[in-house]
Amino acid sequence: MSTAISERAAEEESASRSDEPKDTAQGLAIHELIRGAPPTTEEIDSFLERHQVPLVEGTSVTFLYRGQVDEVRLQHFIYGLETSQPFDRVADTDLRYLVLDLPPQSVLQYKLNVRNGNEGRWVLDPLNPERAFDPFGANSVCRTGVQTPDWTRPDPEARPGDVLNLQLFSRAMGESRNLLLYLPARFRRNRRYPLLVVHDGNDYLKYSNLKTVLDNLIHRQEVAPLIVALTQSPDRLAEYPDNENHVRFLTDEVVPLVERDYPIRREPRARGLMGASFGAVASLSCAWRRPGVWGKLLLQSGSFAFTDIGPNRRGPAFDPVVEFVNAFRRNPGRPSEQIFLSCGTYESLIYENRSMVPLLQSTGMDVRYTEARDGHNWINWRDRLRQGLSWLFPGPLWMVYE
């Protein structure tokens, strides 16, 4: 059984669409401002005070930049649109703007490329306070009708879990590795918990608020109390694409260590692997190499590049990925029991992820797939966690009234 997009997401989307104004392109606020004589400085000041930037009007988004510069370009990461788009200057002013058409429920991360003479620099949008962070820095964020989910923000009513630092010497990796272990609030030794192992765990904590998300979803009873082992590879490009040493590290070292010291349910259906991008590849390959061990997979924006014919065109880092995915596609077996797959429709990987769905379904696994109008980023992965975790590790929401 699988579902393309959850009923709730579809419902929200439908509701949002019905609320949207019709074609607003002709009546945009920016057009009102610049109609006739050029606006004065005071008029521009007033305009900026009255509007949140970027201005979202129906499906039209107006980006603004104010300053004496030679050129401003929008640099974004939406696959399918020109990645660099120039702003127009409002004549005789220091105001520049760009109107972009974006579907409702979209999230766009971007920077501005501001050029003066020969010097160009990428900057965050000074008129937009919303930021998203990732290992490479930060981006500005534009949303059309979609809000930051409340369950991603700290909830004072939610009891916090603990994050412990562990260290283990990995024979598979030939070195010591740090491991973070999330224990849910009200952890009890006399209870047995599911285990979720997370690739790039530190990044999930830092950029996707994973601890807050877990605290909140467990507090709301939407996700079962679970123990989460968070790994962080020092060389993910080498270790993640179908690397037997990595598989041994997770399966033969991390899991036994946690099972030895903590009350873990030991059946496969209570054991999950999660990862994004290359981390999703690592999760799938790990389960594929050890069928019957990992009963649940949460794969976000997997880098499931493959070739039907000819060489891989995504660069050498993808060579081992393509080799694995091609092998997997030839012989998928039944690596897990339940797989939650998500991908942003603004990612270059959307084709590969969509292609993966029927293949996974053909194995008899329980597959659920969801898309969002978002990109290859930690906010997208954060915002899909409720759907994924609550499906894979459902909490007693329906039964618990405290």
Binding site: R191, W391, W398, M399, V400, Y401
Partner: protein, 317 residues
């Protein structure tokens, strides 16, 4: 008969103590925290709040003892639970389809003759009621079959625990039933025959129940959440409850679980379970049954059939 008071969640806004003080409740207070499962008996916060000695009845632990001593009963219980779960799945399957027309009809305000539309709405809601009633009858039949075949309270393992429970209750000045997992709580209370124990107890002493505790004592347990991350979010009848009171459908933490600003959902909820009063029990809220009548507590509201959430004053029990 003494007072029965039902409350909303107690964790963030405990309001039991003033009621105990008002009724002059002494010590000890017996508690049931089986709904907390492995946290059963962690009653420090409750003791601090009540400022009285609290003795937990340990129904969760006692149940484990019974299962160990009486494996036949355990297996029979598991078999019943499997059948109940299957019944619930089948009921849920039909419920999806029964609720949809009722919801759609309640949303329509178009060119139909108003009387014709209202009659059709009532018919659609009636179909849901029939389904609920049939499900409840089938669930009751499962329990009756189990009880008549196994007579659990007369079996040695259960009777021994029940004797201890009766002794503790006889020494206690009040009974406080906490929330948690409503099915776990209900099963434990049912195993030890708490419908009868509470009927005896409340003849002389007050009973306080909050959240799932209030649900377990009712005559019809309705599970609800309008926005679950998975599934349709259709309120569903789970079980009959212990039947300690009638006329109310308690809705703990309704403010967070229900879309109370959605008049169609509220109206359908109220009309479906009428004539029972659907009573939100958020933190700080309560209702008490005195001399056969329900009296509203602080900020009490109810789900009105017109889809609004109205102030609730009182009703006959």
């Amino acid at each position: 008969m003494h007072e029965l008071i039902v409350f909303g969640p107690q964790r963030l806004e405990p309001v039991l103590r003033p009621q105990l003080d008002r009724l002059g409740v002494g010590e000890p207070v017996a508690s049931i925290t089986a709904g907390w499962q492995e946290r059963e008996g962690e009653i420090e916060d409750m003791t601090d709040h009540l400022q009285r000695q609290v003795v937990d009845l340990e129904l969760h632990r006692r149940t484990e003892v019974v299962w160990e001593e009486d494996p036949d009963l355990f297996h029979a219980h598991r078999a019943r639970q499997d059948r109940l779960q299957a019944l619930q799945r089948l009921y849920r399957l039909r419920l999806d389809y029964a609720l949809e027309p009722a919801r759609r009809l309640l949303r329509r305000e178009d060119a139909f003759d108003p009387k014709m539309l209202e009659a059709t709405r009532e018919s659609a809601i009636g179909a849901v009621r029939l389904l609920d009633d049939e499900h409840l009858q089938r669930v009751r039949a499962e329990h009756e079959r189990f009880e008549s075949q196994w007579h659990p309270t007369t079996r040695d393992a259960v009777a021994a625990q029940r004797d201890e429970l009766t002794a503790i209750l006889s020494r206690s000045d009040a009974l406080a039933i906490a929330g948690g997992h409503v099915a776990v709580l209900l099963n434990r209370m049912r195993l030890f025959g708490f419908a009868e124990l509470i009927a005896d107890f409340i003849a002389e002493k007050p009973v306080f129940a909050w959240a799932a505790g209030a649900m377990a004592l009712s005559s019809r347990i309705v599970l609800f959440h309008d926005s679950p991350p998975q599934g349709a979010g259709n309120p569903e009848v789970l079980d009959a409850g212990l039947g300690c009171y009638r006329g109310l459908v308690p809705l703990p933490a309704a403010g967070g679980r229900l879309r109370l600003d959605d008049t169609v959902r509220v109206s359908l909820f109220a009309r479906r379970f009428a004539p029972d009063v659907c009573l939100p029990l958020d933190a700080g809220m309560s209702a008490r049954r005195v001399n056969g009548s329900w009296l509203s507590g602080e900020r009490s509201t109810y789900l009105a059939e017109d889809g609004r959430v109205e102030d609730w004053k009182a009703m006959a029990a």
